[in-house]
Amino acid sequence: MTRNHKPKLAVWKFASCDGCQLSLLDCEDELLEISAEVEIANFAEASRAVVNGPYDLSLVEGSITTPHDEQRIHKIRRWSKFLVPIGACATAGGIQALRNFADVQKFVSVVYAQPQYIATLNKSTPISDHVFVDFELQGCPINKLQLVELLSAFLAGRKPNVPRHSVCVECKTKGNVCVMVAGGEMCLGPVTHAGCGAICPSYNRGCYSCFGPQESPNTSSLSHWLGEHGREKRELVRAFREFNGWAEAFRRESESHEK
């Protein structure tokens, strides 16, 4: 593929912790090489310089939670040739989507003395609820190697090689002893999207699904087995309702245990 200009990269932020865009700055070994291949045209966390759109690739961090942001994402979509949400907030609504299961006005009054100033939506929603997205990187936070793979694939004009199978596959390749079968831990690895490198089981704890659902998650079967191991319904609700709780498969599963 030949180009007569360096592709323009933009990084956008919505409701989030900044961790996923920090992953780009955490590419210490690759950062200067990346910046030689793309023009970092809009990345407020890193630079004062702003180059106007259109942008060849927009990475979007964070979820939509305010009326203003609901409008802003449409502008960004119009300016962007490719748009890729990164992280659990952008792909599933994030931890702040726990409000979606409650009355948000009660949340506001818990935190703020004068709730009337707070402009917030009832729900925290992923980017794909609002605009068309070209690809998604899951994870809370995303894995920086997957981010580098995404950028490389973009530069080479190919599809990113990001496996959508479960954490169990990664865990088995690492040769870990199963923390659930052998250790009785609650582990969401079987229903969770790969990408972290099965870190939690490698550190002797169950996966808490910060990467969200894998491509075909059999959540009800997992719940059944967790129940057989003595997990109560309210524990299952909390387990599925965390950083990716609003992702459809997990939402349906947690709600099924509330009936």
Binding site: K13, L22, V110, V111, I118
Partner: protein
Amino acid sequence: MKNKSIRVNYLARVEGEGAMYVKIKDDQVKDVKFKIFEPPRFFEAFLKGRDFREAPDITARICGICPIAYELGASYAMEDICGVKVEGPLRALRRLIYNGEWIESHVLHAFMLHAPDFLGYEDAIRMARKYPAVVKDALRMKKVGNDIMSLLGGREIHPINLRVGGFYKVPRRRDLHALLDDVKWGREAAIIGAKFIADFPFPEFEQDYEYVGLRHPDEYAVIEGRLVSSKGMDIPIGEYDRHLVETQVPHSTALHTHVKQGQTCQVGPLARVNLNYQQLTPIAQETAQEVGLDPQCRNPFKSILARIIEVVFAFDEACRIIESYEEPDQVAVKVQAQAGTGYGCTEAPRGICYHRYTIDDAGIITDAKIVSPTAVNQATIEKDLQAFVQGHIDLPDDQLQYHCEQAVRNYDPCISCSAHFLKLKVDRE
């Protein structure tokens, strides 16, 4: 007579979404606003009803840059409730991972976000064309900090290996020792970096601050201590709410923190160096002297020097902890839930980070309060802007704006952190 306003609608090189507004009328500063329009995320609200052991993982998500501050603050608060103390090698490992966080966060801010201000670049990538070795060494230092986080925590952002009571898995001695060469290199690189920063042109500007931070009898306080100030406050962290109050100010809707008497306070590296200079390691103190960082420094633009001195300290202490590490018998102290209220306060890279929780007998959280360092510094940032602009009112607009942005970045504001409960009225034009 001059009437003008300076408006920066989206502050760059800070973590999160912030803006700044200064209004000048008849050569007098009439209005200053350091705005935070980061959407609120309601952590305190949705923590209610969660299990107490989930608090470290959940609160980590307040900030991707300083997750350890939240994971450990929450852990200490829960241990306080349940009457548990984490001592010995487990405590040392907690300090070590915190050293890693200070290194990655401080180096990111000092070299990638703040140094470009002093040298006149838009960002560190452009700065790297003129100073390739400085930027490459900074990236490598940051990486060593992240390597410490990854080894002990499983990954650098939102580490998974910390829990109430300790860890899930502790490193073998040989795994830690594998880091030693890099950590020693980092200590030297930080000293060289401090000398590089010492030559920056620092604007002449001093303010009378009340510095607030932790103090511990035996060490440069990071994870535990009493809350002290340069103006005589000395209290256990459990009395935080009685001495540091949050108020809503009329010109904005942000919660500002004040010491009881109405004085604003400053937290962070400059506060810590002022309060606990004598407890810095000898190498860190020597470097501070060499680069001219006065222990009584009141120039906020020199916070970058305090930050790099703390990087020297963090590398030095990491060396000591690694060299003296003995593998503990157990990975965590057993914690049994009991009803009560507890407190945790640690020194995040940007200053004290306060947690208070109440749990019931089943270990379910019934109340939570978290105060981030940027929230505490917010009122001080506005006062700095006010005084700085008043003293430099004749500068051309673009230069004044540039210095104002720099004055905000002195505090390394982490807006994502503060906005879990802060909100200013959005005014983007």
